[in-house]
């Protein structure tokens, strides 16, 4: 994957990269959990619909539980989406700028995202704190303590902040060591070619798997 570089990477940058890869690995595992959680969600709701329509039984908590599954799924997928450069940016202008200007702009964008993510994480923890304080539960038949799903949710947003932090570290170091092209590779928005390649990969899987 990594193109061969003309000279070896400076030590701090190497450390930062290892750190980023480690966090990205964790993020990927979290995203897999989030993805399979949606599969479970589909099975759960299907069971509920068929049970309700055919047998007249329902879990009476499906709406709440799957709502929590969605919230946790979103939060746990955030960091991985960032590592895969999937978060949407309006980049029609940025991509036309020369690398010299584009690289700092990538950092600026990431910094802004970091600010917003930190605010979200703070707000999420406040919410968990409040739910713990009042011992709040939901109105479903299970009386789920709200701090539980909200805590998992806040943890995902926390992991997102961590991912931004290590990306920022690597980005700043790359810029300091005069390697703006690294920054482009790390943060540049996914191009149409990337998206097309992904769709084609999926089609290839469809054609290959059955034979």
């Amino acid at each position: 994957m990594t193109p061969t570089l003309p000279e070896p990477l400076p030590a701090p940058l190497r450390v930062a990269r290892a750190l980023r890869r480690g966090v990205a690995g964790l993020a990927a595992v979290m995203a897999w959990c989030a993805g399979w959680n949606y599969v479970a969600c589909a099975l759960f709701i299907t069971a509920d619909v068929t049970g309700r329509n055919l047998l007249g039984i329902s879990s009476a908590a499906t709406v709440e539980i799957t709502g929590y599954m969605l919230a946790v799924g979103i939060a746990w997928g955030l960091a991985h989406a960032l590592a895969r450069r999937a978060h949407i940016r309006v980049d029609v202008w940025v991509n036309r700028l020369p690398l010299r200007i584009r690289a700092p702009l990538h950092l600026f964008a990431l910094l802004a995202l970091g600010g917003f993510a930190a605010f979200c994480a703070w707000a999420a923890w406040e919410l968990v704190d409040e739910s713990l304080l009042f011992g709040a539960t939901d109105n479903s038949a299970l009386r789920v303590p709200l701090a539980l799903p909200q805590g998992l949710w806040a943890a995902g947003i926390g992991a997102f902040c961590l991912m931004i932090a290590v990306l920022l570290l690597e980005g700043v170091l790359a810029l300091l060591f005069g390697r703006p092209e690294e920054l482009d590779r790390l943060l540049g928005a996914r191009t149409l070619e990337d998206e097309t390649a992904e769709a084609l990969e999926a089609v290839a899987m469809a054609r290959g798997a059955g034979r």
């Binding site: 969600c41 589909a42 299907t46 955030l78 999937a86 940016r89 309006v90 995202l113 999926a202």
Partner: protein, 454 residues
Amino acid sequence: MIAVLVLLVLLGVALATAVTGGPAVPILEILVLVGVFLLFFGAGVYVAAVLGILGILVGLTFSDRPWWAFAGQTLWGPSSNFVLVAVPLFLLMGEILLRSGLSDRLYRALNIWLNRLPGGLLHTNIASCAVFSAISGSSVATAATMGSVALPYFEGTRYSQRMVLGSLAAGGALGNLIPPGITFIIYGLITETSVGALYVAALLPSLLVTGLFILVILAHGVTHPMERPPPLPLAVKLRGSVQLIPTLLLMLLVLGSIYAGLATPTEAAALGVVGAAVFAAVEGRLTLRLLHASAEATARNTALLGLIIFGAWLLNYLLTSINVPQAMAAFIGGLPLPPWAIMACILGLYLALGTFMEGFSMIITTVPVVFPIVTALGYDPIWFGVVVTMMVEIAQISPPDGTVMYVLQGMRPRPGPITDVFAGVVPFLGAYLLAVVLLMVWPEIALWLPRMMY
């Protein structure tokens, strides 16, 4: 380019009316905020961060209440909303189908029926793209997938390259309009309209647009006659159509359960996931690898939508708490213009925004502000949901910025200028716009069915 121009004109009009009287508006602060907004977008900041930070700035500048104390609840509310659970489920369904070989089969089976019409394979392009994008929900994925399936069929034929590429791009632009689309879910959530009613309302308009597309191709086929393939005996046709049965069953399962009132859209989406998995299993393709790849892609795409929702909800909460949408609605409602002219301006704005913004972010950013205006003008929320979705789709295929067209350009077997794709898509663009005009003249096209059913 068109986008910037329209935005500037609108800003100018707004300023002119504000200066020449009307209620006192904090013009300087608003201009600064608009400036921050444009700067952030220009610098390529993440859409969610632009919205969120703008929200925080609005709160710090205009609100004298401790708004931050409600921020956690504002973010938690939509992300744990049952209506929104439909989004990852529809995405998951699409990912499973994408990987289970639906696209080839769909194209081949539809082709048997359509290839003897004037225009031949071009009809198959529209039909298969429309069906596929309805399932997949992403226009880029649709263009890439169906392009890879369809383009080989045209090699060595006398079909006009322009029409081939144009019809593939246009077919993909039907995806969000044909139920079940994700755009309607988010619109329904923001405006508190029934997603099921939106799906019902979109039925006739999507048939209308498809019909107009078919007319475009028929006209092209009649003026450019080609040799028709020999007719196939009915038995062969029917045997070929057996391939379509799983797709039809799946559509029946998802849409039928919504329309029959057996399931909410979220529940229908869950049924769709299970149905898609069964479909893949029948094909012998339901592997752990397939499910894992689908789950990963779903997690990623849901997270990116979720982050935008975080930003948009925060901004929306603050704008509403300082009465911006209400004030805008009162202001625009008081303009000496007939409602249809204001509506035309709004639709023009969507067309302009759509040339550089992706549809989902566009709807989530604009609808909270535009919606009160629309209802104040006396338009039906359901009708507006359908029209906005059509505008978003039109924007995706309007030259020179449409992403779908660049994807197709990159896949062409025979190289040629991008203007071929532009020229090819223009007749379809015209047909789509005509459909919007028809909907403005006869809103009943969208509203008749939901009124019959609800």
